[in-house]
């Protein structure tokens, strides 16, 4: 009984946190999976929201709810936003996929934009960034930087986006360092600094001297800094505050241009269902400054790789690539198609362990 009471009260309290709207403006809602101060994923989405405000000034009103759990709770938050008159709602985590579709059915006049998912509808667009392009550069640097040849990887959930990142990083690390080995830990959370720090510590204790993360907080970098002599990367945001420590580069998500474009489309009435998947070339994925810790030649190679990914002359998944079981996935020179990438659920050859089902 106590738990029920607790949940009900929490629900009421959360509901009140969303503020009321005025009527003549375009209202844009954002649903965040972590706090805006996470320094990573949600922080960058919120920068996109602020950019929308800066672009349209008085003509737009934004509202956001942070730390919304994936699942049923998020459905309630979205419904609340729609009821309060939002015209456009961005739901910014993979786990909001089905809730977004469900709520969108109930509010045909509200436009929804779901990040990193694959289900669209009349009024639901999806958008994502080709983070795996950034992971390729990360893998290249990581493979060069590791001395123990063990690279630790903190995964969040075993979804295609994360698996793509692991594969891309691994392929490019192996390319420069055939002895490299990945140790992968699934944290089953996007944001839990204590758990992320624990995971990083465990990987370091087991010999990893490069830590890659696909979770949202800066805790793994802090753990790497505490351990000393460990290299890490900024995830989703630049995390430049660790520049003097473990951070040698970063993958930066830049949502602002997309959010502005889509908000304008709603204002103009030109909004249509779209599947957007942009990478380094379109500027949705940025690569943070590569620090001097990285040898100059490695840095030059990484930048060349970035340029090739940006102009499309190189695809991060270019054959020959075998699947983990040894079967051929991509023949020599063949590149992966977006459909396979979007649903990727296998490791490439050389990665040990199984993907949790």
């Amino acid at each position: 009984m106590r738990l029920n009471h607790l949940l009900a009260t929490a629900a009421v309290a959360l509901g009140m946190a969303t503020s009321a709207f005025a009527d003549d403006k375009t209202k844009v809602g954002f649903v965040y999976v972590g706090p805006v101060g996470d320094g990573g994923w949600t922080y960058e989405h919120d920068k996109g929201r602020l950019a929308v405000e800066a672009e349209f000034g008085d003509k737009v009103e934004t509202v956001f709810v942070e730390s919304v759990p994936e699942g049923a709770d998020s459905e309630r938050v979205m419904t609340q936003m729609a009821l309060q008159g939002a015209d456009l709602i961005f739901t910014t985590s993979f786990g909001y996929m089905d809730p977004t579709i469900n709520v969108a059915k109930k509010f045909p006049n509200v436009k929804f934009e779901h990040a990193t998912g694959y289900k669209t509808a009349e009024n639901v667009s999806v958008y994502s960034a080709r983070f795996y392009e950034g992971r390729a550069i990360q893998g290249h640097i990581a493979g060069n930087m590791t001395e123990s040849n063990i690279i630790g990887y903190i995964g969040s959930f075993p979804i295609p986006e994360v698996i793509r990142g692991i594969n891309s990083a691994f392929i490019h690390a192996r390319k420069v360092n055939p002895d490299v080995e990945f140790k992968i830990v699934w944290a089953y959370t996007w944001f839990d600094p204590a758990k992320e720090a624990d995971a990083a510590k465990v990987l370091i204790e087991q010999g990893a001297d490069v830590i890659l993360q696909h979770t949202d907080s800066t805790a793994p970098l802090a753990a790497a800094a505490a351990a000393g002599n460990v290299v890490g990367f900024g995830q989703a945001s630049d995390m430049a505050e660790f520049k003097d420590g473990p951070r040698v580069s970063s993958i930066i998500d830049d949502w602002a241009p997309y959010y502005i474009a889509r908000t304008r489309a709603v204002m103009d009435g030109t909004w249509e269902t779209m599947s957007t998947w942009d990478g380094i070339g379109a500027g949705m994925v940025g690569i943070g400054e590569i620090t001097d810790k990285v040898p100059a030649d490695v840095k030059a190679e990484a930048l060349a790789l970035k340029a090739a990914l940006a102009d499309g002359s190189y695809h991060a998944f270019t054959g020959p690539i075998n699947k983990q079981d040894g079967s051929v996935w991509l023949a020599d020179g063949e590149t992966a198609d977006d459909g396979t990438l979007a649903g990727m659920s296998f490791y490439v050859e050389g990665i040990e362990g199984d993907i949790p089902q």
């Binding site: 929490a10 320094g39 204790e205 087991q206 995390m239």
Partner: protein
């Protein structure tokens, strides 16, 4: 699979570290509940302690002052709860939940200028000689002072509750506040002090996350540790040593499952991930099969006139 990659000494050492935040918060809440008050605001007090400790450490450069300030911050926040529930006679469940929400909001407000800073590290008390013992040295004698403080607090709370007059009075207040009042004990005053003790402990636990375990400030960084501490108290049947056992189990299996994952053990990750919760609950449920029960006045509002 490569189990040799796991170093048992380091594993046990990180067990003690991982258990400390929930241990501190749990033992504090135990005292509060033994006094008959249910404070669901542990999460809020922890996160407030986390930011207070972090701020004080950054400003003064001294982790010791940071922990002191964290305890003060946690106690101050809990005093708010004490005012609401003991003097204004508000509902304890609602007040506790409000305290959690308030603490989360307050901490992110306070912490805005502290994102991304690195606190001075908390010194390890490498006890001379003892920390050089091959295995035990790493496991037991190379931690920071707060780890030992946590264990000492459990012992102190246990001894106080069991053997001292103060402990007897506290328990009397928790079991039957009307009778305690009739005997002339200051029910409200005792409860307020217990609540503030709980707040101070939760604050320490929170600061341990932001100063030692992570160490940095991020909004919402306690991420539910307060709720786990609350659950520990119930499953530990309000007995101090069982809180310690539960915290070790939970922290230990959490660290172990990460280690097993990294070593590539062929147990599905889902089972590993849920194991800390399941095993902790199982063991504590089995242990609580004896006759112990919640303090009889737990959660009931006391007013001298009623």
């Amino acid at each position: 699979m490569d189990l040799s990659a796991i170093n048992p000494a380091l594993l046990l050492a990180s067990l003690l570290v991982a258990a400390t935040p929930i241990l501190l918060a749990g033992i504090g809440e135990l005292v509060v509940e033994r006094a008959g008050v249910l404070n669901l605001g542990v999460e809020g007090m922890m996160i407030t302690g986390a930011i207070c400790g972090f701020m004080a450490t950054i400003v003064t450069g001294s982790p010791a002052l940071g922990f002191l300030f964290a305890a003060t911050g946690g106690a101050a926040l809990s005093f708010l709860f004490a005012l609401l529930t003991q003097y204004a006679l508000a509902n304890q469940v609602a007040s506790g939940l409000a305290l959690t929400l308030f603490g989360l909001g307050l901490s992110s407000l306070l912490g805005q200028d502290y994102v991304g800073l690195k606190p001075p590290s908390t010194p390890q008390l490498d006890i001379p000689l003892l920390s050089d013992i091959p295995f035990l040295g790493t496991v037991l004698f190379s931690h920071d002072a707060i780890v030992y403080l946590g264990i000492a607090l459990v012992a102190a709370v246990w001894a106080t509750l069991k053997y001292t007059r103060v402990g007897l009075v506290l328990r009397a207040v928790g079991e039957n506040h009307d009778a305690a009042h009739a005997l002339g004990y200051k029910v409200v005053r005792i409860r307020v002090l217990a609540i503030m003790f709980g707040g101070a402990c939760a604050g320490l636990g929170g600061a341990y996350i932001s100063l030692v375990r992570v160490p940095q400030w991020t909004e919402g960084m306690t991420a539910g540790a307060g709720w786990i501490a609350l659950a520990l108290v119930v499953f530990a049947s309000w007995k101090p040593w069982r809180v310690l056992l539960g915290a070790w189990l939970f922290g230990g299996i959490n660290v172990l499952q990460l280690n097993l994952q990294a070593a590539g053990v062929a147990i599905p990750v889902e089972y590993l991930t849920m194991s800390p919760y399941i095993i902790t609950i199982l063991v504590l449920v089995i242990m609580s099969a004896d006759k112990s029960r919640a303090p009889a006045s737990l959660g009931r509002i006391f007013h001298a006139s009623s």
